[in-house]
């Protein structure tokens, strides 16, 4: 790779336990919103994902919002779904993203448009995430586009993708994860973890396949603000929240404090699991709590690499 590696890549390669977070761009052209959250997180996390129209809701473009983050000193992780763009648009946007200096990329399928605010839309899915990862690795290594046409300066990224330890069928999900890693994913961000026991069993299988040695597994954590928030998270397809945790939120006198305690306990448990290389904290709608979590979990200050 000609250009310098991303901070996230350097942190992981140096063997540090990485901490990343997430920013959901606004449903508006309000750049200050992104800048504000970026300022809050800059220096506290190694990088932050900038979601690509998550839950199929129209939001400010991830490439644009990533640039705003970078301007505020926060290293962004660009997300790119296969839902909204065909191979022409994806490759074009990624050439632009690389030219703008973006270095981390997470490739994902994208939630079905029926979840979002434009259920009438046509989806694309010209390529799936395994195919896209393979194509981007090919572009970086061999300077070729998906068609085989050559490029003089390929887009190169620290390539990542996602995995859901709680989705079915389990064996097939693991096979797909392996395919993603074979296709060039260097890091994997997981779905939010609440069920530690089940995540532990999944990690056992990940280790049995040696996948943790070929890609950095970054465990996802959601911080919930209220009983309603945890209940809403619970109905997302492929999410597994033990009833006991929901019950704790229900009974809590101070729901926010309970949400933080739950997150901290989960983080504590996740750190003990062999093969987990980092943590990905999602607090969409409650971004301001992230510094507290990081402080209390002992993640600060972040290592300089």
């Amino acid at each position: 790779m000609s250009s310098e590696k991303s901070n996230l890549q350097k942190i992981l390669e140096a063997g540090h336990f990485s901490v990343s977070s997430e920013i959901g761009p606004p449903m508006s052209a309000n750049g200050q919103f992104v800048r504000g959250h970026a300022k809050e997180l800059a220096g506290l996390v190694d990088a932050a994902n900038v979601t690509d129209c998550q839950t199929a809701i129209v939001r400010m473009s991830s490439v644009a919002a990533c640039c705003l983050c970078a301007q505020e000193g926060l290293e962004p992780v660009l997300q790119m779904t296969c839902r909204d763009r065909n191979r022409i648009a994806i490759q074009s946007d990624l050439l632009g993203a690389a030219a703008l200096g973006l270095k981390n990329l997470v490739v994902l399928s994208g939630d079905h448009q029926s979840f979002g605010n434009h259920p009438q839309a046509k989806n694309v899915f010209d390529v799936d995430s395994v195919q896209l990862l393979a194509a981007l690795r090919d572009q970086a290594e061999n300077s070729v586009f998906m068609s085989g046409a050559k490029t003089k300066m390929p887009a190169e990224f620290f390539l990542g993708s996602t995995a859901n330890p709680f989705a079915d069928p389990e064996e097939l999900q693991l096979i797909r994860l392996e395919k993603k890693i074979n296709a060039g994913a260097k890091f994997i961000q997981t779905q939010a973890i609440y069920n530690i026991e089940r995540f532990g069993r999944w990690m056992e299988k990940v280790r049995a396949r040696g996948l943790h040695e070929r890609a950095y597994i970054l465990a996802g954590i959601v911080v919930n603000k209220s009983q309603r928030s945890i209940e809403m998270t619970g109905i997302v397809p492929g999410m597994d929240i033990p009833e006991a945790l929901i019950e704790r939120m229900r009974k809590a006198e101070d729901e926010q404090a309970e949400g933080v305690s739950i997150a901290l306990e989960l983080i504590e448990e996740i750190r003990k699991i062999e093969g987990v290389s980092g943590l990905h904290i999602m607090a969409i709608g409650w971004e301001t709590i992230v510094p507290t979590i990081l402080e209390r979990a002992g993640f600060l200050p972040r290592p300089k690499v």
Binding site: C82, R83, R87, S109, G110, D111, H112, S114, F115, N123, F125, D126, V127, D128, S129, V130, Q131, A134, A135, M146, T162, A163, N164, F166, A167, D168, P169, E171, L172, Q173, I175, R176, E178, K179, N182, A183, Q191, P237, G238
Partner: protein, 222 residues
């Protein structure tokens, strides 16, 4: 077969309202079997058009005709005489039949009476599901006979998305996850190793994306 659904009666009545001589044309093949546009439905719609005209105090001649297939010129030819007088043909065939009817009668108004839905199967009384999108490059041999293009909501080729849960697709609890079905089938026929194969990026030019498609076969030409 092609699955269609009758259009809303009000919309059909509105579409034929300007015409004084309406021919309702059922089709004897797919739409008959899926109870959307066969002879029975054609007679029913014709009756409703007459009734609506009568209530509105309009004169209208409504005839009914039923070619075996509207997607076959031979069968349209044999019904030419019956359709000659009409100034509007309400075709209850699939989209292909409606268009072929319009080609047969280039000077007549031809309107559709059904919404053409998909290539699918009948699973129960009044219950049909999609099975194929005619992608032009069938890979069912790799996926245990379950189509990833039409039965996965995201047309994934390399395994399920993270929304697959207890056999259901993330889009709604009624829809089966296509990749769960593929997995189940491959495990029953001892071909789970197929799942490790990477299905390469598709060439969609064989699908609708390549523009209107044509099949020409030397072996069946004279």
């Amino acid at each position: 077969m092609i699955i269609a659904e009758p259009k809303k009666l009000a919309d059909v009545l509105c579409a034929v309202e300007p015409y004084r001589n309406v021919a309702v044309a059922g089709c004897g093949t797919c739409v008959t079997v899926c109870l959307a546009g066969g002879e029975k439905e054609a007679l029913g719609v014709a009756g409703m058009i007459r009734l609506a005209a009568k209530e509105a105090g309009r004169e209208v001649i409504v005839s009914v005709t039923n070619p075996i297939r509207q997607c076959d010129m031979e069968f349209l030819d044999s019904h030419e005489a019956e359709l000659e007088e009409a100034d509007c043909i309400l075709s209850l065939a699939c989209g292909a039949g409606v268009q072929f009817m319009a080609e047969k009668f280039p000077d007549k108004v031809v309107v559709p009476g059904v919404d053409t839905k998909f290539i699918g199967v009948n699973r129960d009384l009044g219950y049909w599901t999609e099975m194929c999108q005619g992608c032009g490059n069938c890979i069912l041999e790799k996926t245990g006979g379950v189509c990833p293009v039409s039965r996965c909501s995201k047309s994934h080729f390399n395994g399920p998305c993270g929304g697959s849960s207890t056999g259901k697709c993330e889009i709604d609890p009624e829809t089966e996850c296509g990749w769960q079905l593929i997995y189940d089938r491959l495990s029953r026929i001892n071909q789970l190793d197929r799942l490790l194969e990477v299905n390469e990026t598709r060439d969609w030019s064989t699908s609708r994306d390549g523009g209107p498609r044509i099949v020409r076969r030397q072996d069946v030409t004279l």
